[in-house]
């Protein structure tokens, strides 16, 4: 799922970049794009924290 979400953000970034060169893009669109990237980041962080905790438990055994 993370890969799928990141792929979507990448595609959207390219589109916004192309449109910015042609007609310009309003700040709201950049903010929306940034929020999408932040959501993927948050999922990634949660997974890293969860796996880190589980790994600590394993190492303590």
């Amino acid at each position: 799922m993370l890969r799928f979400l990141q792929e979507r953000v990448n595609k959207k970034t390219k589109k916004v970049d192309e449109r910015a060169a042609e007609n310009g893009v309003v700040q709201d669109e950049y903010d929306e794009l940034s929020t999408k990237q932040a959501r993927v980041k948050e999922l990634m962080r949660r997974l890293a924290v969860k796996l880190g905790k589980e790994n600590d438990v394993e190492e303590d055994r």
Partner: protein, 348 residues
């Protein structure tokens, strides 16, 4: 969800070799990948020991009287030099006190008020204190880059005038960590600990804690990926969608592909269900709720600067923006315009 379960199950049976691979981040996903490299080298300590006589002389030039200086000396023993010095300047310069009060109250006007004091003073001592508080305001508004800009000015123009130098060094490292520029933040936290052995215990223990967290973060590919994505998220908000940002994003995909492949390989190598999926070795004797208070989250959530900015009347917001445009020199005008614009866009 499937990937997540596979990650979890696979990690429970990691071989040491594969575990090392998961912990070692790929170069491309480091958040500072497109920033100038930070070289590991011995840096000479630019900070001098606090010169109280010089400080008092500069405070007198700002208007401190004998009574205030006597109170300052008592405060140095009781509160520490940094806080005592800040308290003294707040007593001596009412406009500075008002601006710091606004900052403590998460009032959006604080950045403007502090900058006004900064523009009007020639005293490097007062500039140091104003820049310190301004950097804190930016950091509290999730704007570590601007915080670093302000602290760079502090370190370039105002060091060795105030006992606040140690706090400034700490928050410089903290701002780098928030970007996150992990590789640059760790040596600066270490330098803070080495150069300021008499800094407050609160800051010193926080620095130790941050070093541990950042080192752990640096050893984990997953955390490094999240750090890189955090920086990209900021870049996108700043309208950066060009090749360097797109290259970062492509590397996140490559990194995710590698991790998925690795976990799939581990899954196929493990035989039988992972140990963590079976019944517990030490089940509870009886079924009952755990003890402790039944609270969920922070019930006394303090309003953020962005909340307060959003709650303000349109007329008040316009007045602040008019002040920024009409009373500030160009370099501060740009800084504050961008700050208030970002505050208006922040997630609340």
């Amino acid at each position: 969800m499937t990937i997540r379960l596979a990650f979890t199950a696979a990690l429970l049976s990691l071989s040491p070799c594969l575990l090392a691979q998961v912990k070692t981040p790929g170069e491309g996903v480091r958040p500072g990948a497109h920033m100038p490299p930070v070289h590991e080298r011995e840096v000479q300590n630019p900070f001098q020991a606090f010169d109280q006589a010089r400080f008092e002389k500069e405070a007198r030039a700002l208007g401190a009287n004998d009574e205030q200086l006597a109170a300052f000396r008592v405060d140095v023993d009781e509160l520490g030099a940094a806080r005592a010095a800040d308290n003294l300047l707040r007593k001596v310069v009412p406009a500075f006190d008002q601006a710091v009060l606004a900052a403590e109250d998460a009032d959006p006007k604080a950045a403007l008020d502090l900058t006004k004091v900064l523009v009007e003073t020639q005293s490097p001592l007062l500039q140091a204190h104003v820049r310190f508080h301004l950097a804190r305001v930016f950091l509290d508004s999730d704007d570590p880059e601007r915080s670093i800009e302000v602290l760079n000015e502090y370190l370039g123009k105002n060091i060795n005038h105030s006992p606040l130098d140690g706090d400034a060094a700490y928050f410089y490292a903290q701002s780098l960590a928030e970007i996150p520029m992990v590789d640059a933040a760790i040596p600066r936290f270490r330098a803070f600990l080495q150069w300021f052995p008499d800094a407050s215990e609160r800051l010193r223990s926080a620095a130790h804690q941050r070093i541990l967290e950042l080192e752990r973060q640096r050893e984990s590919r997953l955390h490094m990926l999240a750090d890189g994505m955090k920086k990209t998220s900021r870049d996108l908000r700043k309208q950066k969608t060009d090749d360097p940002v797109q290259m970062d994003q492509e590397k996140y995909l490559e990194e995710l592909d590698e991790l998925i492949e690795m976990f799939q390989e581990m899954e196929s190598q493990s035989s039988g269900p992972a140990s963590g999926l079976g019944p517990s070795n030490s089940p509870a004797a009886s079924s009952a709720l755990p003890g402790g208070e039944g609270t969920v989250g922070d019930l006394n959530h303090k309003k953020s600067l962005a909340d307060r900015w959003g709650d303000m009347r349109d007329a008040d917001r316009k007045k602040i923006m008019a002040d920024v445009q009409n009373t500030m020199p160009p370099q501060y005008q740009k800084m504050l315009e961008e700050y208030y614009k970002k505050l208006g866009k922040a997630d609340r």
